[in-house]
Every structure is written in structure tokens, then in C-alpha cells.
Symmetry: C2
Subunit: 221 residues, 2 copies
DNA sequence: ATAAAAATTTAGACAAATCTAAAAATTTAT
DNA sequence: ATAAATTTTTAGATTTGTCTAAATTTTTAT
């Protein structure tokens, strides 16, 4: 039993929205907004996904993924994130260009393709946005990282990702030379506005506002 | 104006079939067979493609591509062949595994993706089957190669492709170590059955039947 | 040249995914 | 607690690509 492009997208969106709600029921309207469609279309689709045992759906009561639905959603997410790594690291896409293309590539389902790609990329555990990549069986790597505002002066770490995915933010990072995997040392903290100074790759010093630094995810050395 | 996955497939198939006929009209039945659908469905689709000015279509008289249709077909073929190179060279797919996955990847239309991929692969001019890869504007590279039966004893060349794409044939080649780009020197020819002996990569000697050697495309050194 | 065979097209249906408009259920605010 | 507002679902259409069965056109064989 295969799933259409569209079904996969619904499952993926339900996964993400439900996660934001700590596993709670996702509303029809929020789904419609994310899927760029109308609530009526969502209702129809939920009925169908429910028949296929991919979601738990009670009329008017929102929706969650079944075990099976979650497995499929995680496969799509795995593919999406692996392709993002590929586009960024191998094809030199910029952070802000990556997402839309990955939205298409994620629906190519060949198991062989996905596993070979994973190998080719060196089994990455995080995508360019710092989001964890689930493994074949849907398990996430253990994530223990901090945002930059949590570091103390002198502490050092590696930039593992970002928690804000706004294109202009990503462009800004690229411009100042903050790339995934670069090393960061915290030079100083300005108490009055919580802005900070960092050293990137042991080379360049930079000031960052609190707004920026709180969206940078760091793995401590 | 974008074209659906399905439309792209029809255009691609019409291109290939028409080429076999030296540019002649393609019949509804042959299209149906290649597209694994029914003649009635083909008729419907041809009407639609004709309205979109992608094909020249006269009822009962077969179909050819318009200039516009050909441009689109060549884009799909370009993408297909570039992905085949990627799968073979980067992900270590075997020759016989490549095609089906490329059939899916070929419909992802991001121009940026295609051009970055081309660059990443080093601007290959031929795919793993030896078929030429059209450039961005739809032009084919000049092809001047020979099949292995045309060489004289002592002549050497590079394996550029194959003219037979049967999976068992491709598997056989992989098994004896004949890969795209390997060097071949013609050792001797057996007059009675035209079988030959070659040296692969200046290392290993191998016998090949006439059947096999006539399907190997060689670029002379 | 014409009848039989083959190829192609039309007619009418169907499934997937969507939409608008109207109805029904739920939530919110007084 | 109940009326108003909001959310969700149903009803009925639409589009895309497909199908079967019947009708039509073209080709082939005598």
C-alpha cells in the first residue's frame, strides 16, 4: 500500500503541528493553513487517512497520527532532511534556497536511494537547520545542545543548527560567515542588552544581538 | 505554464519513439504500450497536449512534438540522464538499478537544482548508458564513437556507453568489471565467431562474444 | 474494390484531490 | 444559559488522468 504525494504531506504536517502541541490534537483549520488548502478539503482528506488507519480522527475533535502514520511521517522527514544536507553541502545551495527543493525530493520513496544518500553524506545526524535526522527506524539522535545565550564567557562549541528558519535570518548568517559546523567561542556579554561578541573559527570576531544568539544552537566542546 | 508529471512523461516517450522513426509520427498504440496505459487514455491526452501546443496531432494520423514540446522533452531527458550519472557515480548504484529511480527524479524541475547537479558531476556529456546529455538549451554533444567490433587489434579506447540496456546484460558487464569510463585494449579477434579478447584497465584480460562487443560503445584514444 | 482486421476515437464512468456555499457542531462571551 | 461567533463538516461541482465498451476510421487481404 503506497501513499500519494499529498497524503505524505498531510502526515508530515500533522506530525509537525502535533509536536508543537506536545502531541495534542491538530485542528482542521491549522492543517488547512499549513497545507495551503481549505478546511473542507482537509475534512475530506482526514476521513480518507482515517480509513487507512494513518490517523486517529474524531469529527470536530482534531486529529493525531497513529503509529503507522507516524512511521510514514518520519520517513518523509528523514528524506527531507537528508536532501537538505545534500543540497547545502554537495550542491552549495544557500540555507534559504534549500527548503523548497527538498519539499519535492522528499517524496521520492526508493529505500535504496535514501540509504545510499545517507551513506554518501556520511550519516549526518542533523540537517542544515540543526534539526535532527531520524534513522531508518524512525529514531532521533540524542540531542543535547544549547542556544548561544546559555554559554559562559570563554566557553566554546560548534554551531549545530538554528531554531529560527526565516529566510532573511538565514541569509544574514551566511553573510557574516556563520555556517553549520563552524566553531564559536564566547568572548563577552554586554549586560545591558544581552548582545554578545563571539569568535568564529578562531579567526573573526563578531557582535550578535540577543535576538540572533538565542536562535543559534550550540553543541559544547 | 507548468506541465504535470504525466504530461512530461508523454512528451518524453513521444520524443524517444519519434526518434526511432527518424522523426516520423508516433502511433497511439505504441504510446499506450510505452506509457503502460490504454489507447483511449492516450487519445484523451493527445488532445490536451495538442491544445497546449506541445504536439502536432491529427486524429488517426499519429503525433509528433512541436518545437515547444521538444524543448520540454529534452529538459526531462537532460534531468533523467544527469540523475543517472549521479546515482551511478556518487551513490554507487549498479547500472541496472539506476533507471527506475531516475524516472522519478527527472520530474523535479528546479532549474537551479539541475544546473548545480550538472556542475557537481563535472558537466558529464554522456550518461551511464552512453546516451548523450543535452545541454541547458537542448543541444546534444557531438558523438563520435564506435562499437567494439570496429576496433583493430591493438587499438585502445574508453568505454563510453552501451547500446543494449537489458538489465541482465548490464549486470553481466558489472560482474566482469566493465564500468563506464574504463579503458579497453583489443588483444585479439577470433575469426570463426568474431569473439574477442580485451584488456580492461591495463589489468585484466577478458573474452567477449560478438553479441556483447557490438553493444559496447568506445571512444578511441 | 470491398470485406475483414486492426487501430483509433468517442461516450460515459470513476477515483483523487480540490473548491464554494450551506449546514451543523463547538466554543465564547455576555 | 443561551445567543453570537467560530470552527468544522457535508453537499454538490470541478479538474486530471484513467478506464471499458461501443463506434468510427484506416489498413490489409483477397
Amino acid at each position: 500500500m503506497t501513499n500519494s504525494f499529498t497524503e505524505e504531506n498531510y502526515l508530515k504536517i500533522i506530525y509537525h503541528l502535533s509536536k508543537e502541541l506536545d502531541g495534542g490534537e491538530v485542528s482542521t483549520n491549522s492543517l488547512a493553513e499549513m497545507a495551503k488548502t481549505k478546511a473542507a478539503s482537509v475534512s475530506d482528506m482526514l476521513k480518507k487517512l482515517s480509513e487507512k488507519k494513518l490517523v486517529n480522527y474524531q469529527k470536530y475533535q482534531g486529529v493525531t497520527l497513529t503509529k503507522l502514520g507516524q512511521t510514514i511521517a518520519l520517513k518523509v522527514i528523514r528524506r527531507h532532511r537528508l536532501w537538505e544536507v545534500f543540497l547545502l553541502e554537495k550542491l552549495n545551495f544557500t540555507w534559504d534556497e534549500v527548503h523548497n527543493v527538498a519539499e519535492e525530493l522528499e517524496h521520492i520513496s526508493s529505500e535504496k536511494l535514501v540509504e545510499k544518500l545517507d551513506e554518501f553524506l556520511g550519516f549526518p545526524r542533523f540537517d542544515p537547520h540543526g534539526d535532527p535526522i531520524p534513522d531508518q527506524s524512525g529514531k532521533f539522535p540524542s540531542t543535547i545542545y544549547h542556544n548561544l545565550t546559555e554559554l559562559k564567557i570563554g566557553q566554546a562549541g560548534i554551531l549545530m543548527g538554528v531554531s529560527e528558519h526565516n529566510p532573511s535570518f538565514l541569509k544574514f548568517l551566511a553573510k557574516i560567515g556563520l555556517t553549520l559546523g563552524c566553531s564559536i567561542v564566547l568572548n563577552e556579554i554586554n549586560e545591558f542588552d544581552h548582545s554578545i561578541s563571539i569568535k568564529i573559527n578562531n579567526e573573526i570576531d563578531h557582535f550578535l544581538s540577543y535576538e540572533v544568539s538565542k536562535n543559534l544552537l550550540i553543541k559544547l566542546n
